[in-house]
Every structure is written in structure tokens, then in C-alpha cells.
């Protein structure tokens, strides 16, 4: 409990202290280091994209590479965050977030990929409510990944919707693809599943989303996630609700 340097990414190691490195610590340190590398890769790829002409043949490949780098980055971010959450070290920080700015930021991160795949991306803004209270970085990571997935599996449309119902903010990501397979709609997914052999999906994204949702509590209510099919656009829909 009182070991000060369990997580080397969180604090500079004090050379006067003996190292208490176990496997988890090595893995987290490595994840942290990998994340730094991926950030540099992402930055270079974005710069490259800016310099490749719009009709350049390598443009699609560069987009793909950027997308994969972003995926690796968001997985690493989620693993690191989950580890810190379990250790009680994550600086969970619900703040007042401007919803329009939030939508703008999250869409900005997905627009390039959507364009390269010919997917139309639109946003259904929140009516009355201008602000909501949540941990911006955690929720941003969930919604960004959900948008990336939707763009991957949709036919040609993806929508980000924000609305307040029953005192909860609902962030909805929906598409017009084939929807989620039945097993994913089962209650308790992904916690009851191992790594899925059919899709190779680890379920990390959904697990992360449901953990983070439940950390958001207000006046006795806790956040939730759910998956639905046959949404407004006819395909799958991911819903994150925050009290």
C-alpha cells in the first residue's frame, strides 16, 4: 500500500530506493514507453498526410497507418488507465465539459479516417444542456474509439448524438452497418467472454467503457454502457450514459 514507486511512469524513480519491480510494473513501464513512441509515429504520419497531395496513391495507406497507430495508442492509454484505476492512482477528475467543444474535438480526431473511407460523419447536438460533468479524457477515449469502430463497420454513415434523458447524458454512436453480432448484445459482455476467436477482439474497449461509466456517480446514480441494434440509422448503436 505504501510503496511509493510502484508505477515508474507516475514518478521518477528515486535511486536511493531499492527497486520493487514485478511483472506488472515492467509491463506498465513498457506500455508507457510504447505509448510515447506511438505518439511520435502518429505525429509524423499526420505531418506526412498534410504533405501528400489529395490524389496521391500513398494517401490511403498513410491514413490506414495513422488509424492503426491511433488504435494502438488508445489501447495503451486504456491499459495504463485501467492499471492506475485498479491501484487507486488514476486522477479521476470529473469537470464541467462544454459539450459542443467536446463533440468538435472528438469528431476532429475521426474525420480524417471517415473521409478516407468515404463515410459521412454527422453530429446530433444536445438541445438545452451546454455543459455536463465528467472526466474529459476518459470519456473522450471511449467515444473516439467507438467512432473508429463504427467507421470501420458501417456502410457509409456514422452519427454522434448527445442528449439528456432522465437526468443522464447519453452519448450515442450509431451507424448504418450490419449491427453488432448477437453474442455481443448479451448482458454482461465483455466481462463473461475471453478473447473472441472469431473477431480477435479482446473486448478491452467495451470493458474500459463500462468501468469508466461506473466510476461516474452522481446523487446515487452510476453511469452505464449498452449496445443496441437497429438504431436510427439502421445499424449498431453504442450508448454511454452518464448521470
Amino acid at each position: 500500500m505504501n510503496d511509493p514507486a510502484r508505477f515508474p511512469g507516475a514518478s521518477a524513480h528515486d535511486p536511493a530506493q531499492p527497486l520493487h519491480m514485478d511483472m506488472a510494473t515492467y509491463m506498465m513501464a513498457a506500455a508507457h514507453d510504447m505509448k510515447n513512441s506511438v505518439c511520435v509515429m502518429t505525429a509524423f504520419l499526420e505531418k506526412a498526410l498534410d504533405e501528400i497531395p489529395a490524389d496521391g496513391a500513398s494517401r490511403t495507406m498513410t491514413h490506414q497507418a495513422l488509424y492503426e497507430a491511433q488504435r494502438v495508442n488508445s489501447h495503451l492509454m486504456q491499459i495504463l488507465a485501467l492499471y492506475k484505476i485498479d491501484e487507486g492512482l488514476y486522477p479521476f477528475d470529473p469537470v464541467e465539459v462544454d459539450l459542443a467543444a467536446f463533440a468538435h474535438e472528438v469528431l476532429g480526431g475521426a474525420r480524417g479516417l471517415a473521409e478516407s473511407k468515404g463515410v459521412a460523419l454527422d453530429v446530433q447536438p444536445c438541445g438545452q444542456e451546454r455543459f455536463w460533468y465528467f472526466d474529459r479524457d476518459l470519456v473522450l477515449s471511449i467515444v473516439a474509439q467507438s467512432l473508429h469502430n463504427a467507421i470501420k463497420y458501417t456502410r457509409d454513415r456514422v452519427r454522434l448524438g448527445l442528449r439528456v434523458t432522465d437526468g443522464q447524458l447519453e452519448i450515442r454512436v450509431e451507424d448504418n452497418g450490419h449491427g453488432f453480432p448477437e453474442f455481443m448484445l448479451e448482458r454482461g459482455y465483455p466481462a463473461q467472454q475471453g478473447i473472441d476467436a472469431r473477431t480477435g477482439s479482446t473486448g478491452l474497449g467495451l470493458y474500459f467503457a463500462s468501468r469508466v461509466a461506473r466510476m461516474h456517480r452522481n446523487r446515487g446514480l452510476a453511469g452505464q454502457t449498452r449496445l443496441e441494434n437497429r438504431g436510427d440509422l439502421g445499424g449498431g448503436r453504442f450508448v454511454l450514459s452518464l448521470p
Binding site: 500500500m1 505504501n2 510503496d3 511509493p4 511512469g9 507516475a10 514518478s11 528515486d14 536511493a16 508507457h32 505509448k35 510515447n36 506511438v38 505518439c39 511520435v40 502518429t42 505525429a43 509524423f44 499526420e46 505531418k47 498526410l49 498534410d50 491511433q70 495508442n73 492509454m77 495504463l80 487507486g88 492512482l89 488514476y90 486522477p91 479521476f92 477528475d93 470529473p94 464541467e96 462544454d98 467543444a101 468538435h104 474535438e105 469528431l107 476532429g108 480526431g109 474525420r111 480524417g112 473521409e115 455543459f131 460533468y133 479524457d137 456517480r217 452522481n218 446523487r219
Partner: protein
Amino acid sequence: MAVIDPDKSDFAARSFLLVEDFEAMRGILRDLLRRCGAKRIEVAANGQEALAILRRGKCDVIVCDYHLGPGRNGQQVLEEARHEGLIGVATIWIMVTAEKTADMVMGAVEHQPDDYLLKPVTEAALQGRLERLIVRKKSLAEIAAAMRAREYLRALELCRGRLEQDPGNPLEILRIQSDLYQLTGQADQARALYDSILGKRDVPWARAGLARLYVHEGKHERARSLLEQLIADIPGYMEAYDTLARVHQSRGAWQDAERVLQEAVRVSPHSPQRQNALGETALHCEHLDVAEQAYNKSLKLAASTTLKNAAPYLGLARVQCARNKPDEALKVLAQMSAELDGAEARLQARAEEARVFHAMGDAERAGAAAREVGDCIQAGAHGLSPSAIMDLAETFMRLGSRDSASQLLQFVIRNNHEDDALAARALEVFEHGEMGEEGRALIESSRREALDAMNQGARLAAQGKLGDALELMRQARTLMPRNPRLLLNHAYVVIACLQKNGWRHDLASEARRSIATARLIVPGEKRCGELLARLEALG
């Protein structure tokens, strides 16, 4: 894939400073800023370069990497720039970081950057955040300027105006408003505001603010349960740990305080002040290893920053003394005198030396050091805490210098005439010198002396003899320069004079000085705020 922005001129007119140690990243971030519309961009590869650029002239927007290689990190650069006054109320500081840490997002508000961006930084994020910050800073600049000038009533007025228009971020204004209510001693308004916010949502800062109110009112049990709940919900909310530890200390539960601070430094290990608090608490519990480790960390964290102070050195000297290693303690104190500037630090080190020499059985050197410090204390110019002066008196007593001990004890009591714990401790010291009876009488007369001055001053003021009251308060202040109640009464009389005879700048400054000193001694005292507000209303 540039995000279309109809109006980039706002960026073009502003000066940017980019601080990033990694050259390739520096180029990328600079390109990003350019794509957002920035024209004037200076770059720095480390904290030293950044501060040099800021000293040459102010920048409007600073984008700073948190990890800057060896030397200062981004947070230290920010604190130093603030400390040197290189950042105006409208300046925007964005921290870029690979990872969110508790220090960065939930440290003391006055040390926080305006925003932080997680890597990889995207154009949409950078531009969106900057645009919003520019608007927010503009709308808050007037309030921030008023607060910086300590015109709290005017700042409150501005908050009310903002809330009526509501162009910006309402909860943020409410937060400033609640702080202002506490600063100006309007506890009831602050409470009403917290209650109304908490009626709708469990907002962490409102819970922490309410707990602070309970602490000031001495409702420690309520503060404690509120803070414990807050920490359970939001384990990274550092202010809650600090306040909770103080609550435990004030009810004498030092072990509980130590436990809370241990948990706090685990979550957020980079605050030298918090490490000091842990050191002091552990020392009190006689957990010498914990104390030593905390003080050493504090020293390392504060080195080459503006937060360097005497506490960790004095603490380490105590630890070594408690281990019967007086030579080590003297080494620490010599190091302290060499590394800290100012007469105050030298005096503090010297006072501690007196204790160490005495512990070594060197009565001669102990006596010399103690006399030197004692003279300075009686002359009024010092920064020693009451408990440090008590320690010195104890040393005198053990050396057999009863008179010197007695004078110091009377000085402490005069300046803290309402503090029963200090009076009890003073009596103990008198008893160690086998002058219990005499001591009891001296303590009583010192308390009486302070009370008499207060009562007489109040009587004269009530009779309208403001000039006489002021003269009396000034005399009493030279005798009790650290008595908060007296200082506030002095300020009260000065303000009454101003009210009656009209504004005088020198008198206003005199009152302000008394209030400022009192606030250092009793930070939560609501009369400080009330008097400041009255002064402001007059000026």
C-alpha cells in the same frame, strides 16, 4: 484534413511560445500551431530558455511540454513564471503531457495550467481548446485582475454581472464566487451557494469548499465525514487529503493524519509542501524513517524552485537529534544556512542549533546561540512559529537561564493569549525549571495584559476617542506583533479612523499590513475578510 475555421485572425495577432525538448516534436507542434493560424511563434528547448524568453517580453499563449528532460519540468517552469510575474491574467498556459497525473490536474488551483492536452496532440483538439480558452480568459480577465489587486468586493460584483449575462461557464463563475465569499468572510453566502450546487450535483470543489467552512467553524466531525466521502469517490482530489489531515491534527489524532498523508503522497508524490506535512506528522508520531524519507523528498522536489523553505531542514535536524546523532543534525543546519537566503532562515537554523548543542551537553555554545535568537525575537523581527519559540524557551530553561526562558514564554503567551494548548505547554516548561507557581502567575498576567489592551482599545473606540484608541493599539502591537486578534482590532480602529476622518493612503496600508499578518497566522479567520472588504468599500 484541417478543421475549417472562419476566423484565424485571433491567432495571427497573438504571440506564442512553444516549449518542447524533443526537436522533432518541436517542429511538429510548431506546424500544428501554424495550421491553427498562429504567425508569431517563439520556441524554447528547456525551462531556462523559456523563462529567458518570457523575461524579455510577455507571450499571449504558452504551449509547454510537461517532461522537458533534465532540469525543470513544465509545472516548475509555470510556477516560476507565475512567481516572477511573467504571466498576466489573460495569458494562456497549456501543458502537453503523455499522461495525466494527480499533481497536474488536481494540485492547488493557483498552480494549475489553464488546460492540458494529452499526447498525441491533434489539430482539432489544439485549436478547439485554444479558441475556448481565449474566450474564457477574456470573460474572466476583469475578475482575475480585481482578485489580483485584492479588490474582492469588486470581483464579486463582476461575478454577479457575469452570471446575469451568462455568456461563459456558469459553474466556473460560481466557484470563483464561492471562494470570494470565503475570502471576504461571508460564510453564510458561501454555504448557501455550496448547498444550491450540491442540491443538483455532487460537484467535488463544492464538497471541498463546504468542508473548509466546517473546519473554520470548528465542526471537525462533519468536515471529516464529508472529506472521507469525497476521497472515496474521487481518490485523486488532493486538497481533500490535505484538509482531512489538518482536521485529524487539530483533534490530536496524529496517527490518523499520518495515514491520510501517506495515502496522499502515494497518489501524488510531487508536492514538497505535502511531503513536509507528512514529515512533520510522522515526526510527531516518532516514525523517524517515514519522517526522514518525506523530508528528503521535499528537499529534492523543492531544490531549484521558488518553493524552497526551511521546514525540511529543521525537520531532518529533529530526526537526527531524535536518533541521538547531533553531529548529523548540525550538518543539516549548516547546509540549511548555506542553501537558504535571508536573516529569517539563519535565525531558525540558529534556534535549532541551540537545541542540538544542548542535547550534546555543550552548555556554552547552546547558551550563546539561544541568547542570540532570544534577542532577535524580543526585537520583534523574526519568522519563528510559537512552538519553535517554546522549544527555545525550553532550551534556556534546561540551561538554567530562567529569565531568558521566562521572557520568551511571556512573549508567546502575550501573542497567543487565547491559545489554551500553548498556555499548557508554557506551564510545562516553567515546571521543568521548577518555577511552576511563578509561571502560572506570569502566564495569567501575560494573558491579562493582552486582554486589557484589547478591552481598553474597544472602550476608547466606543467612546469615539479614535485617536487615543489608535495610539494604544499601536503600542500594543509592538508588544504583541504576532497576536492575530490584536492585529485585527488594530486594523478595525484604523478603518474606523478612515471612516470618520476620510481616506488616507498611509493608514490604509497600515491596516492592510495588520490584516495580512493576521491572515498568515490564522488563515481561516473570517474577520480578516470582513475587514478587508470594509477597507475596500471605503477606498
